[in-house]
Symmetry: C2
Subunit: 114 residues, 2 copies
Amino acid sequence: MVNTQGGLDAVFSALADPTRRRIVERLARGPLTVGELGAGFSISQPGISKHVRVLEECGLLKRDVVGRVHRCTLSPKAIRSASSWMEKQYAFWNAALDRLGDILDEPSKRKKKR
Amino acid sequence: MVNTQGGLDAVFSALADPTRRRIVERLARGPLTVGELGAGFSISQPGISKHVRVLEECGLLKRDVVGRVHRCTLSPKAIRSASSWMEKQYAFWNAALDRLGDILDEPSKRKKKR
DNA sequence: GGTATATATAACCTTATAGTTATATAACCT
DNA sequence: AGGTTATATAACTATAAGGTTATATATACC
């Protein structure tokens, strides 16, 4: 927890919790109030409130307060940044696969350069 | 942490740590031994060892033990499953955007439909 | 065999997290 | 005003997570 670089940290951390992933899954189907989000989970109302807050702070969720009701919507920018981090690693990996054949063939005693 | 559904949980949890994401970034460029992975981080050798273990257990990393050296490679299957979870939510969200216009225009007392 | 190297394990500490219950705030409704 | 509803905050507890140092294990080298 020393290095909290660029938002990504908070997004992945938020998505690490299965309850929060389920909340995101629900929100991806359309906006819901905090109360509606809580229905179906077996955790307390303050519990849901805290999860919603975490998702909000990392940018995955936006809140529209109307009266006493808080309507939550998914804000896909954050999910996009996390997803693109993954895509990037994937792309690097594919690029590395070329060089890889060479390295893997190395029987631990050959420092040849091609 | 009551609901540990399908691997995804462990993968997101692993990626929540910035040190482990940096390890993944390095591995995406090509295989490295545990020792090589540790170089450049300011944490102790056992610290690295534990991070590597976490990445291995969630399926992001594979280990090839040759002699006393452990060569680590990225195993992109896990990253793919996490990434596709995100893509799925994204897709649902886009689908929801159609229905959304209707809902968002409703000012809780809506006097107009467009 | 003895020593150095690569990595893992054990034991421990500290901080963070997810959950709880109880209470507060604010909006809506007679 | 009084009561109900929606959500947040406070205070607390338990467990997990990341870090450490010290030690163990296994391989390599002379």
